[in-house]
Amino acid sequence: MPSASDRTRGSGLTTALKIVGILALAAAVLSFPSFAANPFILSVGVVIMSYAVLATGWNFVGGFTGYMSLGHAAYSGLGGYATALLIIESGINPWLALVLGALLTAVIAVPVGIASLRVRGASFVIVSIAFVLILQLVFQSWGEFTGGSNGLRVPRPFGPDVLRPEQHERFFYLHAAVLAIALLTWWLIDRSRFGIGLKAIREDEDKAQALGIPTFNYKLVAFVVSAFFTAVGGGLYALWFGFLDPIFQFSILIGSYMVLMSLLGGIRSLFGPMLGALVVGYSVEFFKNEYGDTQFHLVATGLLLGLVVLFMPDGVLPALAALLRRFRPQESSIREVTQAELAEQRNSDPITQGAKR
């Protein structure tokens, strides 16, 4: 079959292009600190990387299963507080605290997932919001342990001899490393049997279950993995920023950012959330810098979300990919035509043709 060999050749080329693309992306990310003109730009870079980790973490559940959690700040917040409190209360190594804090958050996510993944669609969204609001109340009022509304100072992992720009740079690379691990995990799941099961759930959960997929367990695992990576993101941010405020940590706004970034970049694609984080993170910081910390970015966020959902429901990355496909080299487009024609000819087999409705 000629089309089959064409396909393999085509996919070989695509793989090579993908590898080159990923290497270029990695090089661009890793060289950013040396190009950053000043510590402020560098700190914006850290914020964007933090968003990228959170959005990629969110996408383990949002992208694979289609369950849109608006309350994922619960897990970044828990990761942050768990890391800080473990260091403060038991004096353990901050990096160990980061990992333990994320694991603890993942454990907490198990019962939350069991309770909330029973409902779908809007109900799930509401339950996710409810959970983050409960956490906000708890962390605000439990003053003696969490610092309450006064906030919590997070001990610095690097000593005072490490200067600010140096701090930013280190945290930039730490975030990049966590992001790389999250992306690798997402990619591994994406191509696996588990991943195809999760995507089947996103497409049609009842159908997936009728085919024998234990949908609830699948969703729960994805949810807990998502909570884990989101918590690592939250913990790392806490170590960098050095201060936690329950109003900000457990806000719906942070959760909405994760959703917006993922939707913008495309929840079906590996790098989608990361690209969305770049766009949203940059815009948010830009607006904050230009207009101060007003409510303006809220309006902008809302507008952006609306535009994307309306005009690019698959996200920016997939929309760009579709556009690129139109400008492919002539050779491959001819091949596409022949392949399509081939399918067409077979299609004209009256049996399946006439059934078109």
Partner: protein, 258 residues
């Protein structure tokens, strides 16, 4: 008539019951969709489940496959109680099903649609590539068996309705069920495709698969099935070989709505 009866009696001796329901009921508000249904389907046969519109066939399917919890009654599969079990457990016990309004995964390719039904040999193999060599080979084999192998790379939503029905069937087969329940396989497809689907059912049955087919196309039911169950208002009103059921006055009454 006597000859027929004897033939019926002779058959009954060798009949083994696969899927069965006893006193099964399910109401939606005031609507008794399935009401005290007692039904037994024959192992290794092509069973048909017929009845007027709204007689509860689809609801019965949903209760049996765990998609809906019945209000009362029991469902057994080769003697084992499967009432109210989760759909994936019933599927894994060997019951596959299609849906009346053809359900596929629209944004996945035809090949992925079939691969989604793979049952990993163990939990540790869950992270193995979905495009595992053996799985892909089997999925392609099934796609070509239903006659749409040339569409493996196409998104399922791009297929015609008839092709989607064939794809759904290939997915069901991938899970390797012993009993296959089809809800109106001939609904909305042209006569040539109906023949193809009927041919598939026959050959799969010859390979040992038991079928339970809901169908309104009487010509197809009569030519295809070995055993017919007739539903009216949520319960069985007649059963037997097609030739017998066809002449049952209760069936005629139900269909003519006297």
């Amino acid at each position: 008539m006597t000859a027929l009866h004897e033939q019926g009696a002779g058959q009954q001796e060798s009949v083994r019951i696969g899927l069965a329901a006893t006193g099964l009921s399910k109401a939606f508000g005031g609507v008794r969709a399935v009401h005290d249904a007692t039904v037994a389907f024959h192992h290794g046969k092509i069973n048909a489940l017929i009845g007027p519109n709204g007689s509860g066939k689809t609801t019965f399917f949903n209760c049996v496959t765990g998609m809906i919890k019945p209000d009362s009654g029991t469902v057994t599969y080769y003697g084992a109680d499967i009432t109210g079990k989760a759909p994936h457990r019933i599927a894994r016990a060997g019951v596959g099903r299609s849906f009346q309004l053809c359900r596929i995964f629209p944004r996945m390719t035809a090949l992925e649609n079939v691969l989604a039904a793979v049952r990993p040999p163990s939990k540790t193999r869950l992270l193995a590539s979905a495009h595992h060599h053996g799985d892909v080979a089997r999925a392609r084999e099934l796609l070509s068996r239903v006659g749409i192998e040339h569409l493996e790379g196409a998104e399922a939503r791009a297929l015609s309705y008839g092709q989607q029905k064939l794809l759904e069937l290939a997915g069901v087969l991938m899970a390797d069920p012993d009993t296959i329940m089809l809800d109106e396989p001939a609904g909305g497809v042209n006569p040539a495709l109906i023949e193809r689907i009927a041919g598939l059912v026959r050959s799969l049955n010859a390979e040992g698969k038991t079928f339970i087919v809901v169908e309104h196309n009487m010509e197809l039911v009569m030519s295809l099935s070995d055993h017919v169950v007739v539903f009216d208002r949520g319960s069985q009103i007649s059963e037997g070989p097609p030739s017998v059921v066809q002449n049952d006055p209760r069936v005629l009454e139900a269909y003519l709505g006297v």
